[in-house]
Assembly symmetry: C2
Homo-oligomer: 285 residues x 2
């Protein structure tokens, strides 16, 4: 039994959908969350910038003595893993591998799987490679949807006409291709899941990488006997690099409940701490 | 006569519309431009984060030995000026005061002026305060349009249906209020000027802060005898904190011509240089 917290990070608010999935499955676990709201979004930025930011955040989270770190950001998972995980002395779980595994489980040989995500996630081919590493019999088509994140970050959700227009803008090719499953390769996309489902029709399965990741975190902790044995509900402490107020307001929709405790950490402070990661001795997980 | 370059900065691409205006008016001037593409956008972030980023960039630009610095970012101008200008040993020109002056010149006592901009610009009340500091007889209404920047940054312009929908989303109250003038309080907005003009109708004057700022820079340099006397066309050198390629591709639409020379500067490097600003001796402008 291990009472240390699960650490989760994202470029901003999106990872709170993964926190929601984690709390549904593992209600006794303490969670610390970092959202890089001063530098959001990551999805339009280059891999080495995203790697640098993710290293800084991982070093910061290590100060919280977590039992594992969840890269709840699809862009960070796609471009930083497994390399970043090798520098961190606790297990690091990304959203790409669990999401890819879920896509394979949901489909059959010869089926078409569509992956939708940010420009950086799609350009990395991480989901396609992860699906083919598990099973090469699925065809994979990938579509970048750059405006979904800003639309959702503004707090605009499924019933809004601008959401329907953006869905039509990016997903029209998928409506024609009729994939068996569409993998929501961005933690923001569950917030507009209803609009995507209505547009693509009931025959298309929508796969949420966040749900699959929460399952994977539970399995990882269970295998190593590291689940918490507390009977009470776990705590949630959030850290952001900007805007505690906005994070609390819009974030509560992502989390599905209020966010009482948000602390601001200056991203200058993060940059100073990043060197600590490489000089840290490797502990066994 | 002063051959030193004019330095211009913005959170990303938007300031290139100001560079375009500068080059039309002052073709002999050398220009150095910094776009903070690793941390864009600024308009959804808090004033102290925007101040920190802007200080770092100003310190970086001072290494280029400029004769003045143009804060071509409305958000940075609105939240950092005049304070930041006091720490910089050359004249600093923002976009807010020239834009406000242009709005007053374009209207008459009792007229209604509408200001549109990012959340941070609107929350700062900088345009309203600047207009009223010049002339308190104008009524000012302010509207934040958070999705305009991501839409334009994606390279989507005036004729696109999603632009028309976003325009309708934010500007419907203005169509009812019928202001005499609408001040485009963001350097991205000139890219969707046509859509805004069509929506609001020909009776509404659209004021581009960028044009007014370029006029102000010319006047400032002329007054101090600091215009370049070169007969050849001035150079343009661009620096960005991420993505030279994207900056070149999308940026060429903002600039109205190709961008040959873009150098990447890591934002970690920027942060290290920021302390130099406060310790620098004050020179006379």
């Amino acid at each position: 039994m291990d009472q240390r917290p699960i650490a989760v990070f994202d470029s901003g608010l999106g990872g709170l959908t993964v926190v929601r999935s984690l709390r549904e499955r593992l209600p006794a676990e303490d969670i610390v969350y970092f959202g890089d709201t001063a530098r959001v979004p990551y999805g339009t930025k280059t891999p080495d910038t995203v790697m640098r930011f993710s290293r800084e955040i991982s070093a910061f989270l290590m100060r919280m003595n977590p039992k594992c770190i969840v890269a709840a950001c699809n862009t960070a998972s796609a471009v930083c893993l497994p390399r970043l995980g090798e520098d961190v002395p606790v297990p690091m779980v990304g959203v790409v591998t669990p999401g890819a595994a879920s896509a394979v489980e949901t489909t059959r040989p010869g089926d078409l799987v569509a992956v939708i995500g940010t420009e950086a996630t799609i350009a990395s081919n991480a989901y396609r490679n992860a699906i083919h590493a598990i099973d090469s019999t699925r065809s994979v088509v990938q579509v970048a949807c750059p405006l979904f994140v800003p639309i959702v970050e503004e707090g605009v959700y499924a019933s809004d006409p601008i959401v329907r227009m953006a869905v039509d803008r990016y997903l029209a090719p998928l409506r024609r291709l009729k994939p068996t499953a569409v993998l929501l390769g961005c933690t923001h996309y569950p917030m507009i899941r209803t609009a995507i489902a209505e547009y693509l029709g009931a025959s298309v399965a929508l796969i949420d990488s966040g749900d699959a990741t929460a399952d994977e975190v539970g399995d990882t902790l269970r295998r190593s006997g590291a689940l918490s044995d507390l009977a009470s509900a776990g705590s949630l402490h959030c850290y952001v690099s900007d805007h505690p107020r906005r994070f609390q307001t819009v974030g509560s929709h992502f989390l599905g409940s209020s966010i009482p405790d948000v602390v601001r950490v200056c991203s200058e402070e993060l940059a100073r701490g990043a060197d600590a990661l490489s000089s840290r001795p490797r502990a066994s997980a």
